[in-house]
C-alpha cells in the first residue's frame, strides 16, 4: 500500500529528526563529555573549581560577593562589581540590570515593593557608598550629594515653553539638592506622584562634580552576567589602601599582588585588562 505523499513526507521527516537527534543530541554531547574527562581538561570541564584545604570555595570563572550576612562589604576583601544576579552573584539566577541610559526617575513609595530605583540613582548610591568605604570623593555628574539622581521636574506654563511655574526634585523626599531653579523654589517629591504625567519636563542637572569621577565606572555599574569575576585595575587600585590598612600590609605589597592577578589583554589586543577578584582575595588570605 502506498501512503499519501504528504504523510510519507512527514514520516520521513520524523525519521530524519530521530536519527539526527541520536547523532547530534546524544552521541555528540556525550562524546564531548567523555573528552572532558581527559586529564588536563576535566578540571575545566567541571567548572574550574578552586579547592582550599579540601573545601571548594568557588570557581575561578565565577565572581563572588565579599559581603557579610547583611550585605555589607567585608573590608578585608577586595569588593566585586555590583551584581543583578539574584541577591548578587547567584549562578542560578543570572541577570543584568537592564535599565536604560535615560532611566533617571525613581518610583518613590512607602511600600518598598512598589518603590524602584532608577539606574541613575543606583549609580549615584553605589558611588557614594564606595566613596565612603574607600574614603574618597564619591561624587558624580548628575548625582546629588546624598546619592540619588539629581533630576528636576520642571513645570512650564505652556508645556515645554513659557515661564517656569513649579519645580520638584523628583528623586528626593527630603531636602532638595538645589534650593531654586530659574528663580522658582524647588520642592521635594511626594511618594507615588508621577510628575511627568502631570506635565513636567524631566531635567537632569549636571552639577559640579568632576567629569572624571574618582570611583571607576565598573564599581558603580552592574555587569552583564551578574557573575563578573573581574574588576578593573583602577577599581582594584582604589581599594588597595583599605586592604593594606585592614590587613596590615603596605600598599606596595597590595599593589604587587594586584599586578600579579591582573590579566592583561590576551595577545595584547583582546578584551580589557582585568583583575580576578576571587583569586586576588585568596592570595591575600594565603599570605
Amino acid at each position: 500500500m502506498r501512503l499519501p505523499s504528504w504523510l510519507a513526507q512527514h514520516i520521513a521527516a520524523l525519521r530524519a529528526l530521530l536519527v539526527l537527534t541520536v547523532l547530534l543530541g546524544l552521541a555528540y554531547p556525550l562524546a564531548m563529555v567523555a573528552v572532558g574527562r581527559l586529564p588536563g581538561l576535566s578540571d575545566r570541564a567541571d567548572g574550574s573549581l578552586i579547592t582550599v584545604a579540601d573545601k571548594t570555595v568557588g570557581s575561578r570563572l565565577i565572581g563572588q560577593s565579599f559581603t557579610d550576612a547583611d550585605g555589607n562589604p567585608v573590608p578585608r576583601y577586595f569588593q566585586s562589581r555590583p551584581s543583578a544576579a539574584g541577591d548578587g552573584y547567584d549562578p542560578t539566577s543570572t541577570s543584568a540590570g537592564n535599565l536604560g541610559p535615560e532611566s533617571i526617575v525613581d518610583t518613590l513609595s512607602d511600600n518598598p515593593d512598589d518603590a524602584a530605583q532608577s539606574l541613575l540613582t543606583q549609580v549615584c548610591a553605589r558611588s557614594v557608598a564606595v566613596g565612603e568605604l574607600e574614603k574618597v570623593d564619591g561624587r558624580r555628574p548628575f548625582c546629588t550629594a546624598d546619592g540619588v539622581g539629581a533630576v528636576l521636574a520642571v513645570f512650564h506654563r505652556d508645556g515645554f515653553t513659557g515661564p517656569v511655574t513649579r519645580v520638584v526634585s523628583v528623586n528626593q523626599t527630603g531636602t532638595p539638592f538645589v534650593a531654586t531653579y530659574q528663580g522658582v523654589t524647588v520642592e521635594s517629591a511626594r511618594n507615588g506622584e508621577d510628575y511627568r504625567a502631570m506635565g513636567a519636563v524631566i531635567t537632569p542637572i549636571r552639577g559640579d562634580a568632576p567629569a572624571d569621577p574618582v570611583v571607576p565606572a565598573d564599581a558603580v555599574t552592574a555587569s552583564a552576567s551578574g557573575l563578573d569575576p573581574h574588576i578593573s585595575p583602577a577599581y582594584a587600585d582604589l581599594q588597595a589602601p583599605r586592604i593594606a590598612r585592614e590587613r596590615g600590609l603596605t600598599e606596595d605589597q597590595v599593589r604587587r599582588l594586584i599586578e600579579e592577578h591582573t590579566d592583561g589583554r590576551a595577545l595584547g589586543f583582546l578584551g580589557e585588562p582585568a583583575v580576578n577578584v576571587l583569586e586576588l582575595n585568596m592570595a591575600l588570605d594565603g599570605r
Partner: protein, 548 residues
C-alpha cells in the same frame, strides 16, 4: 586601538578562510559521493539519494521537517519532568513550550525562559541543541537551493532536501563543532552532566556552581547563528564565554558560514566574482555597523553613561566596551542573537544599532543561509531597478526578473517589516507594552526590539521586558514562525521559477552585477528601504531618546 585591532583581525581571519572554507562548503553541497554514515541516514530516513525535488517538493520537505521538529520539541518540553536529567525542573507551561519550540526550530533562539532555572540537561542537548544544528542546516539548504535555481538552465528540480540536510549537518556543522568544543573546554567552558556543586565562598556564603553540557552546545549556538544560550545571560556568562579570546572565536564562528556562503554562490553560478560582490555588500554593511556601534558606545552619550563616565552598565569587565559593542553588532547582523552584554543598557543610539542591524533583514551577513538568500532577494530588487535604468528587461546572472520574480521578491521583503510593525503596534494597542521595564521611548524600544528580533529570527533581546506571558509568547511565536517559513517558501518558489528559465548570455548591454557600482547600489537599496520603513517607529524610540 585594541578595540579596532579586534575587528581588523576578525576581518582578516574571515578573508583568509573565505576561499578554502567556501570551497569546502561548495564540495559538500554539490558532491555526489556519500560516506557510510550518510548512506545509513538515507536508508533510515527512507529517501532516494538521487531523487531531485521540484521546488514544491523541496519546500514541502522543509516544512514537514520543521513541523515535526516543532511538535517533537514541544512534547519534549512539556514532558521534561518525566525524562532523565531534568534536574527536577517542572515541565514548561503550554505557551512557553510553544514559544520555545518555534524559537529553536526557526533558528531564532528567542529565550522567554531562563536556562539555568528552567531546562534540564537532556532537553538542552537532545532537544534544543539538536535544533541548533538542523535549523542551521535548513537555512543553508534553502540558500543552496536558491543558488541552484540561479545556476540551473531549464531545470525543474533544485536538489534533494534530505540529502542537503544530512550532508551539511554531518560534513560541516558537526566536525567544526567537535573541534571547537574541545577548544572551548580548554578555555574553561563546562561540559558535564552534573547538576552543579554547592560551594562555600570566602565570606561563608553558599554559592551553587552550575554544571551541564555547555561547551558542546555553545559551539553550535554560534556556528549555526542560533544564539540560544545555556544560561539566561547567554555569552556574558563566564561558563559560556570565559575568556577574551573565546569571545573572539565565538564571533569568528558566528561569521564563518555566513561569510563563506557567497563563495559557494560564486562557485555554483560559475563566476567567483559574483560571490565577491555579494560578500562585499555584506562586508561593507557589517563593517560600517560594527564601527558605528563601537563608536557610539565608546562615546557613551546619555545621562546615565555620563554619570558613570562610560557605558559600562550591563557589560563585563573582561570584554570591555569595544569588544562588547562589536559582539552586539555582529550577533544582530547575523541573526545569532547570543549576547555578551545587555543591549537594553546601551546608549540610546548605540542600542539602536542592533535594532537596525536586524531591520536590515539579517543580510549582512545574516544567519547561516538566510543571510545569503535574503541578500540575493535584495539583489534581485536592486537588479530590477538598476536593470530598467540601463534599458533592458532586468536580468540577474542571465535570469530575467519578470513579473513572477518580482511578485515573489516583493512579497519576501514585505513579510518581516509587516510582522515587526504590526506586532509592535498590536502590543501597544492591546496594552501589552506595559510589561516593559523601562518607560517612555526606551520602553517603546524594548517592544520594537522584541518584534524585530522575533520576526527576523535573531533571538537577541533588549531584555528588560517580561515576555513570558501568554500574549507575548503567542505573538512572538507567530512572528518567528511566519518570519521564517513564509520567506523560505517564497525563496524556494523563486528558485523554482529561476531554474526553469534559460540563461540569457551576458553582453555589453547586461547590467554587470559584480562591479563596485552595483555593490554600492545594493548597499544603498538595503539601507534606504530599511530607513524608509522603520524610521517613523525608530524616531519615537531610540532616536527620541538619543536626541533628548
Amino acid at each position: 586601538m585594541a578595540g579596532w585591532l579586534f575587528v581588523i583581525t576578525l576581518v582578516l581571519a574571515l578573508v583568509a578562510v573565505y576561499k578554502p572554507f567556501g570551497d569546502y562548503l561548495y564540495r559538500v553541497v554539490s558532491g555526489t559521493r556519500d560516506n557510510v554514515v550518510e548512506r545509513g541516514v538515507y536508508r533510515l530516513v527512507g529517501v532516494d539519494r538521487n531523487a531531485a525535488q521540484t521546488w514544491g517538493v523541496y519546500a514541502r520537505s522543509v516544512l514537514a521537517f520543521s513541523a515535526v521538529s516543532i511538535l517533537f520539541l514541544y512534547a519534549f518540553l512539556r514532558l521534561q519532568d518525566k525524562l532523565w536529567l531534568s534536574l527536577g525542573f517542572d515541565p514548561l507551561p503550554g505557551h512557553l513550550a510553544w514559544n520555545t519550540a518555534v524559537s529553536f526550530t526557526t533558528n531564532t533562539n528567542w529565550q522567554a525562559y531562563s536556562g539555568e532555572s528552567t531546562m534540564g540537561h537532556l532537553v538542552q542537548m537532545a532537544g534544543l541543541a539538536v535544533q541548533n544544528f538542523v535549523s542551521a542546516s535548513v537555512g543553508i539548504a534553502v540558500a543552496v537551493a536558491l543558488v541552484r535555481g540561479f545556476a540551473a538552465r531549464k531545470s525543474a528540480t533544485l536538489g534533494n532536501f534530505w540529502v542537503d540536510l544530512t550532508r551539511i549537518t554531518l560534513r560541516v556543522l558537526l566536525p567544526v563543532a567537535v573541534v571547537f568544543a574541545v577548544i572551548f573546554m580548554a578555555a574553561g567552558m563546562v561540559q558535564n552532566l552534573s547538576g552543579g556543586v554547592d560551594v562555600t565562598t570566602l565570606t561563608g556564603a553558599t554559592q551553587h556552581i552550575t554544571g551541564g553540557p555547555v561547551a558542546s552546545q555553545e559551539v553550535i549556538k554560534e556556528l549555526g547563528t542560533n544564539g540560544g544560550g545555556f544560561y539566561n545571560v547567554n555569552a556574558a556568562h563566564p561558563f559560556e564565554n570565559p575568556a577574551t579570546w573565546t569571545n573572539w572565536i565565538q564571533l569568528f564562528l558566528i561569521l564563518l558560514i555566513p561569510f563563506s556562503l557567497p563563495r559557494v554562490f560564486g562557485r555554483m553560478v560559475g563566476q567567483n566574482r559574483q560571490g565577491y560582490a555579494i560578500a562585499a555588500v555584506m562586508a561593507i554593511l557589517a563593517v560600517a555597523s560594527v564601527a558605528l556601534t563601537i563608536g557610539l558606545e565608546v562615546h557613551g552619550a546619555g545621562t546615565v553613561p555620563q554619570a558613570v563616565g562610560a557605558a559600562m552598565e550591563g557589560k563585563e569587565t573582561r570584554f570591555g566596551i569595544p569588544n562588547s559593542a562589536a559582539y552586539a553588532a555582529i550577533t544582530t547582523l547575523t541573526s545569532t542573537g547570543s549576547v555578551n552584554s545587555f543591549h537594553d543598557s546601551y546608549t540610546a543610539l548605540g542600542g539602536m544599532m542592533p535594532m537596525i542591524n536586524m531591520m536590515l533583514g539579517e543580510v549582512a551577513p545574516g544567519g547561516v543561509g538566510a543571510g545569503l538568500y535574503g541578500l540575493l532577494i535584495l539583489a534581485v530588487i536592486t537588479v530590477f531597478v538598476a536593470g530598467l535604468m540601463v534599458g533592458r528587461t532586468p536580468e540577474y546572472l542571465g535570469k530575467k526578473i519578470g513579473a513572477r520574480e518580482m511578485k515573489i521578491a516583493s512579497s519576501y521583503f514585505l513579510i518581516t517589516p509587516a510582522l515587526v510593525l504590526i506586532g509592535t503596534a498590536a502590543a501597544f494597542a492591546t496594552g501589552n507594552n506595559a510589561t516593559a521595564l523601562n518607560v517612555g521611548p526606551h520602553g517603546l524600544s524594548e517592544v520594537l526590539y522584541a518584534f524585530t528580533s522575533a520576526s527576523n529570527n535573531n533571538g537577541s533581546a533588549f531584555a528588560g521586558i517580561t515576555v513570558n506571558t501568554p500574549w507575548w509568547d503567542t505573538a512572538l511565536g507567530l512572528a518567528m514562525l511566519l518570519g521564517r517559513f513564509l520567506p523560505i517558501v517564497l525563496v524556494l518558489a523563486l528558485a523554482g521559477s529561476l531554474a526553469r528559465q534559460k540563461v540569457t548570455p551576458e553582453s555589453e548591454g547586461t547590467l554587470p552585477t559584480h562591479q563596485p557600482l552595483f555593490v554600492g547600489m545594493v548597499v544603498g537599496v538595503t539601507v534606504v528601504l530599511v530607513a524608509l520603513t522603520f524610521l517613523p517607529a525608530l524616531a519615537l524610540g531610540p532616536i527620541a531618546e538619543g536626541l533628548s
